[in-house]
């Protein structure tokens, strides 16, 4: 599936950040995934093993935080939890809602081991 393509894009960003910060290695990568992003957490983990091999992030832990599906109702303005295929308002049942969380696929943070600065 497309998780490998997503993961390759993630690795590119992580490598750029590591280089920019003169890091020796990457120790952890935190990503946030919502069910409506179309990315499956387990498939992303599997793809990560392949995509990170031989990179500066090979040893890094991939932390995947699953983000909740939340909607706001246009009719009664209530915010409520929802299911990926049932985005109706929990309060009044109306379907005209706006998604406020749940479609993210976001690189949240990267933890780096910095290279020791050379003494001159």
């Amino acid at each position: 599936m497309h998780e490998l393509a997503v993961c390759q894009s993630l690795m590119q960003q992580v490598e750029d950040i590591a280089m920019e910060h003169n890091a020796q290695s990457v120790t952890s990568i935190v990503v946030g995934i919502g069910p409506l992003s179309g990315v499956e957490a387990q498939l992303l983990k599997n793809a990560y093993t392949i995509a990170s091999a031989g990179s500066i992030a090979e040893q890094a832990e991939l932390v995947i935080e699953l983000l909740p599906v939340r909607v706001r109702c246009a009719l009664c303005n209530t915010e409520s939890d929802a299911l990926p295929n049932k985005l109706t308002c929990k309060q009044c049942g109306d379907w005209r809602t706006t998604l406020i969380s749940g479609d993210e696929m976001m690189l949240m943070s990267v933890e780096l081991e910095k290279a020791k600065e050379k003494l001159t």
């Binding site: 497309h2 393509a5 950040i17 935080e65 295929n85 976001m106 690189l107 943070s109």
Partner: protein, 284 residues
């Protein structure tokens, strides 16, 4: 995603990220860098670049998505036959293999660029960007992008299109929106295709398909259409013409600032590469 800066932080998830939230953590001796970019940041940037390019040339870009065999190419053929006299149309075709679909379009005298994705299950913004190098957009009013037949992967990749049209063919069943909410909820128009089969496959209830679309908070209009007997074609063509008008009006009120266009390379059909691009190095 946040419309202001594209940062992906919304009212719904900000509590997780801000100081003290469960995703904000640092350990001593290490440096935590907060990023907050989409995992497809690079794709999204290229998609925006494509969209700017379409806008500069006043071209409407429509992304057609569906499962394989739902009738995307047949819809394009029927559309071209009716609109070719009054509208300049180009088609970008995405398939894993073969140039069959592009050839069907070219037979009608319309420019078609075939992208062979190899093993990739979706089109991405970079592939569209490559295809645009073979199209002189000054020659067109509308570009249809026929995505790879797949109800899953194409939904996650912005291509730079203005509108998404999703086809749901009658033989597939009316509950597809509930099974594939990620794709259907991004639709600007849903077409119930092969509607000439409704009398035979009477377990497909269009009203039920609409109910499923409402359950995923999709307010897209729904059209029943048959490319074969041409029922529903009139409504579809009206929708297309209306969308071109809407885009033109929008661009009149919000002109594209040419100086903002970070466009240092030519998108010139004269410098065209061969029309088939192998993208097989991009993994699925």
């Amino acid at each position: 995603m946040c419309d202001t800066c594209g940062c992906n932080i919304t009212h719904g998830n900000e509590s997780l990220i801000k100081a003290g939230g469960k995703l904000e953590k640092t350990e001593s001796g290490r440096e935590a860098i907060s990023v907050l970019h989409s995992l497809l940041h690079e794709n999204d940037q290229t998609a925006q670049h494509n969209r700017d390019h379409f806008d500069q040339h006043h071209v409407l870009a429509v992304n057609l998505m569906s499962s394989p065999g739902a009738g995307k190419t047949a819809l394009l053929e029927a559309t071209i036959k009716q609109l070719d006299d009054c509208m300049r149309i180009a088609v970008i075709e995405g398939d894993l293999e073969t140039e069959n679909d592009a050839e069907r379009i070219r037979k009608l005298g319309v420019t078609a660029i075939q992208i062979s994705t190899g093993s990739a299950c979706h089109l991405d913004a970079h592939m569209i960007h490559q295809a645009l190098h073979n199209l002189d957009l000054d020659d067109f009013d509308i570009v249809f992008i026929e995505n790879v037949g797949n109800l899953v992967c194409p939904a996650s990749f912005d291509l730079g299109q203005h509108l998404n049209v999703t086809l749901l063919s009658v033989p597939e069943g009316d509950d597809k929106p509930a099974k594939y909410p990620v794709m259907f909820r991004t639709s600007d128009l849903v077409i119930i295709s092969k509607s000439d089969l409704l009398p035979i496959l009477d377990d497909f209830i269009p009203e039920r398909a609409i109910e499923y679309l409402h359950s995923i908070a999709c307010d897209a209009p729904v059209l029943e259409l048959s490319s074969k007997d041409e029922s529903g074609m009139h409504e579809w063509l009206e929708w297309v013409c209306h969308q071109i008008e809407v885009r033109c009006n929008y661009l009149e009120e919000n002109p594209v600032d040419a100086s903002q266009a970070h466009h240092h390379h030519e998108h010139d059909a004269d410098k065209a590469q061969p029309p088939v691009m192998k993208q097989s190095e991009i993994s699925a």
